[in-house]
């Protein structure tokens, strides 16, 4: 690992889960028309990459997105947070790439740009949350992956992380190149300033097709298809309790809870 760290960050332009509305008659969601935004944990990954560069005073952060042309929006956000350059992989032959295709494309970008010392990912996407893309890329490239990281340090050419598993915490070290997937706990992504956003909107975003990467849309066609997305509706009463004083509201609430049988 050289002095000038080369950091790649994968960014997904995913479904804005908070804005998804189910069709009330069927309880299902039409994902093709759902609003999109940058996947939450990917923003943590971009923030972490930028912080590492800022701490070291040098280095290069490359944000990469694989998907529809609208993914430019998420790349602009990565640039506004502080990424140095952005690459969009988009190809009409693969309008909706699955995790396998995304991982193959990211691994191909890695090879085409001559590799990264550190390749950062969100530990899962807000919409799909498979957690597969980072480990897949690492598997294909034959480099280590460190998943579910909540603390990351680069020191003397080594990367040390603390990872958060269900029942355990692990501290691991690896030499680059290495894939790291991060969760929300690692940092709080900055809100880009107006000026940062304005500057990012004028930056060039490189665009590559699958052919540019030596890949074939036929080979990467998805074998996994989403047939239906249903939102389980939990009916809630949505009653508002109020009163002339906090004590009166408290009285009212407690008597309601007793009559509901949830308090003795």
């Amino acid at each position: 690992m050289g002095d000038e760290l080369r950091i790649g960050v994968a960014v997904k332009h995913g479904i804005d889960v908070g804005l998804v509305k189910a069709d009330p008659s069927t309880g299902t969601v039409d994902l093709s028309s759902a609003p999109r935004k940058t996947s939450d944990f990917d923003k943590n990954a971009v923030e972490e990459a930028v912080r590492i560069r800022e701490r070291r005073g040098k280095g290069q952060v490359t944000a990469i997105s694989v998907g529809a042309p609208a993914a430019r929006e998420s790349l602009r956000e990565a640039l506004a947070i502080g990424a140095d350059e952005a690459i969009l992989v988009s190809d009409p032959a693969l309008p909706q790439p699955d995790t396998r295709a995304v991982a193959r494309a990211l691994a191909a970008v890695y090879r085409k740009v001559g590799g990264f010392d550190l390749f950062l990912f969100g530990e899962g996407s807000t919409d799909h949350f498979s957690g597969l893309v980072g480990p897949r890329v690492a598997g294909e490239l034959g480099i280590p992956s460190l998943s579910h990281v909540r603390r990351l340090q680069v020191q003397d050419g080594e990367i040390e992380v603390e990872r958060d598993l269900e029942e355990e915490v692990e501290v691991l070290r690896a030499r680059g190149p290495v894939v790291v997937t991060v969760g929300q706990e690692i940092n709080t992504p900055r809100l880009p300033t107006f000026m940062a956003n304005l500057k990012a909107s004028k930056r060039e975003i490189r665009q590559w097709t699958l052919t540019d990467l030596g890949l074939s849309g036929t080979v990467l066609q998805s074998h996994l298809r989403t047939d239906r997305v249903a939102v389980p509706q939990v009916p809630r009463k949505r009653q508002v309790l109020s009163g002339s004083s906090p004590e009166e509201v408290a009285q009212r609430l407690l008597s309601v809870l007793r009559s509901e049988g949830v308090l003795p």
Binding site: V20, F129, S130, L132, S147, L165, E167, E168, V229, V249
Partner: protein, 324 residues
């Protein structure tokens, strides 16, 4: 070359591997094809019998001395070589954090289709139909998979009834484990306060509406007066560190199903709503009358928690303070 056939199950935790096996056998997922299990370096002499008892017709074992670490860099190439030998149509692993990483690495090594977080799986003609959580746990997606071979990580807790045991058949697989690519510096159990939110009948959960750590006793007093456990949202555990992870309710925290869920100063981010969705009755107290939490509450109390909690305590005849 013959077409891939049968199912291969693996988990480094024997109980999880048994769950996967019983799930396959009870539903005849292999449709008469072989159901097998893999052992990667595990040395306990009883494990093959445990796996056969859960329905593994063949136990493929790759041994190593000393046993390899539970590290995907070491296990994935070994599992990949067993997959090449067995030629199953499905490889099932557990959708734990380790299991998902293993699934991704094996899928990347062999360029296989993979999916994780699968809660239900069935065969329909020449394809697989699977169900999984989607949209940060707010939705259930149904997907269909048509690939000759796939890796599927199943969410633990499957309905896996007892099945007739299979006769013990162990096949030792030649091969070696690669050296680890990472250096383990430390592994420690998470410190748990002994809280099992999943079992709580009542829960009082606090969110970012709480101004400072010193105010936690206020919330604890309300919980005590209601006979409730204390939960928190992600920012209070993961960011502020005011609570340990075993109090954290949400997508990446605990999923709870109490009779009564009281959300205090909780705005209602989608990732939190997933964790509380199973509650029977939800009460929300929040200063912001437009907070999303009110849409998911049975009873909403728009108001300041710093006024309402003391009022509730007064009416309940309780006081703020540490338990006597």
């Amino acid at each position: 070359m013959t077409a891939p056939q049968g199912i291969l199950c693996y988990s480094e935790e024997v109980d999880r591997a048994r769950e996967l096996l019983r799930y396959c056998r009870a539903r005849d997922l292999a449709a008469g094809g072989p159901v097998a299990a893999a052992i990667l370096g595990e040395t306990s002499p009883d494990t093959p019998a445990h796996l056969a008892e859960a329905g593994a017709q063949t136990v493929y074992r790759m041994s190593a001395s000393p046993p390899p670490l539970p590290d995907p860099h070491v296990l994935a190439p070994a599992l990949a070589s067993i997959i090449r030998e067995v030629q199953p149509e499905l490889v099932l692993v557990s959708s734990t954090k380790r299991g998902r990483e293993l699934a991704g690495r094996v899928a990347g090594l062999l360029d296989l289709v993979a999916e994780t977080g699968v809660t239900d799986l069935r065969r329909e003609g020449d394809r697989w139909v699977l169900e999984r959580e989607a949209l940060s746990g707010n939705a259930i997606a149904q997907e269909s998979l048509s690939a000759p071979v796939a890796v599927i990580a199943m969410t633990p807790g499957l309905e896996a009834p007892a099945v007739p045991p299979a006769p013990l058949a162990v096949r030792d697989v030649a091969g070696s484990f690669p050296p680890p690519l990472t250096e383990l510096r430390e592994r420690r159990k998470k410190s748990g306060g002994g809280v099992r939110l999943e079992d709580a009948e009542r829960i009082v959960t606090v969110g970012r509406g709480l101004r400072q750590r010193e105010d936690i006793p206020l919330v604890e007093s309300l919980a005590r007066a209601l006979g409730a456990a204390v939960g928190c949202t992600r920012p209070l555990a993961a960011e502020a560190g005011w609570f340990s992870d075993d109090h954290w309710i949400g997508l990446t925290g605990h999923r709870v199903k109490p009779k009564l869920y009281v959300a205090v100063g909780v705005s209602g981010a989608v990732q939190h709503l997933v964790g509380m969705r199973g509650s029977r009755l939800v009460v929300a107290i929040n200063k912001d009358p437009n907070a999303p939490i009110f849409q998911q509450a049975d009873y909403g109390v728009p108001g300041d928690l710093y006024q309402l909690i003391p009022a509730l305590l007064k009416v309940l005849g309780a006081s703020v303070g540490t338990p006597s």
